[in-house]
Amino acid sequence: MPDEMRDGELGELMRAALREESVAGGEKGALAAFREARDAGLHTSRPTRDRDDWTPAEERRRPRRSLKTAVAALVASVTLGGVAVATGDLPEPFLGTTAPTSEPSPATHSAPGTDPAPASASASAERGATAGATRTPPPGTTAPLRPEKDPPELPGRSREALCDAFEKTEGEAKGNGNGNGKAKTKAGAPPSTARQRLVAAAGGEEFVAEYCGHELRPARDPSAAPRPNDGTGRAGSWAGPGRGDAHARADRP
């Protein structure tokens, strides 16, 4: 490739003129410095910085490392993107029922916050139920609700959460027998909205246990016994420590 810049007459003139008196005196100093650096191992020990890398442009334009990085990034983005799409899709069929998404969230949030209230309410409710007494459904929970709000209408997660809360409060009620005054002081508090919703979803106070599944009570009751002292802690625990741990673990890669 002819280089008009270099080969032009003017270029040659300038070059010749400016190189004219190049003195060779500096060579000795340069060679001494070379020997010194070489003998000190500087020529093998020091890393190449960006400004020292003058490999030809064609090679520099596609450095292997950054190509590898780019490919890895592409693969990662496709993979993670696929996962994101997949997990984004999953809830659709699961929650695909008519349940409004806003419904579960107040349930999960209010239930733990109102810890002792459902405890006492459910405790009395349970006692009433076991005693065979017919109880009036709490206000807002009416029989006609049942056909309208069939159990399947509650999103699975919400149902589980409500039942969980129910079970907790029930456990608390039993724990009270072991002398925890905390829950007792709050006895008589109005039933929480979560409980109301659960009762409504079940179709009545007496159907709650059935609605939540039979294994519920036998499975959880033993666990309630060993730690009777912290009813509130347990009430909080269904959204608290247990899940908190899970989150902490999930956060770690």
């Binding site: 300038m14 500096g26 070379f34 003058w54």
Partner: protein
């Protein structure tokens, strides 16, 4: 790096063009610096020297002092010419500083012969800018300004025979250019860098450097041609 044998690179110029024949045969890899052939000694800046330079640098990196001396002889004239254009008669001192750094950092360098020219030019430029900063801090006029005052005007320069452009005249001509044009011309013409390498040395876009070099050369040519021939 180099292709083992020292033949001229494929991108060598038009064969009719009268140019140095370039590296001929394999260099002895002893530590004795190879003497440069007569006619080539004057201008070892062309790309036809790059293969030879690349080999010398590679051997020097492995500890061969003679090879380092050869690289020095190939590269130094161009560096010195460039430095003259920037710092005037202090160029020798600045070049010595630059070579100390080059000798020390040789192990860091990666690239071929043309890359070595660019790398060394970058180091020389940094030393020159340091020098100019120091000089400007002193209460005397910089070398650059003195040259402009003392050297013949461009009109006189143009009156000289073109084949005997003196160093002073060339420096005066260069000094008459805006800084970016002067540096672009020096790196392209005197050091022998290609466009992208010159741009990298200057830290500018290749397009900007290309146009600066063209404008600079056109300006020089106008000054010379107007009265010369």
């Amino acid at each position: 790096m180099g292709e083992g044998t020292g033949h001229a690179p494929a991108r060598a110029h038009d064969p009719e063009h009268d140019e140095p024949s370039g590296p001929e045969h394999d260099e002895p890899s002893g530590s004795e610096p190879a003497a440069l052939p007569g006619p080539e000694r004057e201008d070892p800046s062309g790309p036809e020297w790059d293969v030879r330079l690349a080999e010398a640098v590679e051997r020097a990196r492995r500890g061969d002092e003679g090879a380092f001396a050869e690289a020095y002889r190939i590269v130094h004239p161009g560096l010195l010419g460039y430095l003259r254009g920037i710092v005037g008669e202090d160029a020798e001192d600045v070049a010595s500083d630059a070579w100390l750094e080059i000798a020390r950092d040789l192990g860091r360098f990666r690239g071929d012969g043309a890359g070595f020219r660019g790398w060394t030019a970058t180091i020389a430029r940094h030393r020159a800018l340091d020098h100019l900063r120091r000089v400007r801090a002193r209460p005397r006029p910089s070398r650059f300004e003195q040259d402009m005052l003392e050297l013949p005007a461009a009109g006189d320069a143009a009156g000289e025979a073109l084949d005997a452009l003196s160093t002073e005249t060339a420096l005066a001509l260069i000094a008459g250019l805006p800084r970016d044009q002067a540096e672009a011309v020096l790196l392209r013409v005197v050091v022998g860098l290609d466009g992208p390498s010159a741009a990298r040395v200057l830290g500018k876009r290749p397009g900007a450097v290309r146009s600066a070099a063209h404008r600079g050369l056109r300006r020089l040519a106008k000054q010379l041609k107007g009265r010369g021939r």
